[in-house]
């Protein structure tokens, strides 16, 4: 697949392969939403999934920030991070 020029013909089979690969990356609950997958529905579900992952990153950043506010350099939690770094 890699190294393909943009002018070369993409076969339906290759598209289907990529589409099913994409489908396999969605969590089970989202796969159920699609049912008998149309490419359009799958893409829509994929977009929705990526957006929710972006939101997760934002949300976890906020929560980590709040947690870190309660830490100081000598607290046990800092040791946890240090030990995670060492492992």
């Amino acid at each position: 697949m890699s190294g393909r020029g943009s002018s070369s013909r993409i076969t339906d089979e290759e598209i289907n392969e990529l589409v099913s690969k994409l489908q396999s990356l969605l969590p089970e609950s989202r796969r159920r939403n699609i049912g008998r997958a149309s490419a359009s529905k799958l893409l829509k579900e994929t977009c929705s999934y990526i957006k929710s992952l972006h939101r997760d990153v934002d949300d976890l950043s906020d929560r980590l920030s709040a947690l870190m506010a309660t830490m100081d350099a000598n607290s046990p939690q800092a040791d946890i991070i240090r030990s995670l770094l060492r492992s």
């Binding site: 990356l25 359009s40 994929t46 977009c47 870190m68 991070i81």
Partner: protein
């Protein structure tokens, strides 16, 4: 390794931001998350190259949240490939085939990063 980079960044943020605002720290953590994703994929992927470029130019990291309903009022069926292109870094310059490949890799990386952040959260909270 993604975990190593992210944890080191967290440690730096912890050391240097005792007086800064919580939202400032949150932004730095978010940026560190996307940076460690991009560094772990390196230059192998179009999405990570695009992300690295954005990070180095210090541009704000923004991803669209809402579908723009006003954009094409006459078409009820939005071109989902176009929506996807806005969500995957470097998307606009990819053809459909490349877009699907890059999307698969990007999703894998994102889920790994989210899991990592959750693990760190759980470790700190316990």
């Amino acid at each position: 390794m993604m975990a190593c980079h992210f944890l080191r960044a967290l440690f730096r943020i912890q050391q240097t931001s005792t007086s800064s605002s919580s939202s400032g720290r949150s932004r730095r953590i978010r940026r560190a998350a996307y940076a460690s994703m991009a560094y772990s994929a390196g230059t192998r992927r179009a999405w990570s190259r695009a992300l690295l470029r954005k990070l180095r130019s210090r541009a704000r990291l923004r991803f669209p949240r809402r579908l723009s309903r006003a954009a094409t009022p006459q078409r009820r069926d939005m071109d989902q490939a176009q929506v996807l292109r806005k969500l995957v870094p470097g998307g606009p310059s990819m053809d459909d085939c490349k877009l699907l490949e890059e999307t698969a890799d990007y999703i894998r990386c994102l889920t790994t990063q989210v899991r990592l952040m959750q693990t760190v959260m759980d470790s700190i909270s316990s």
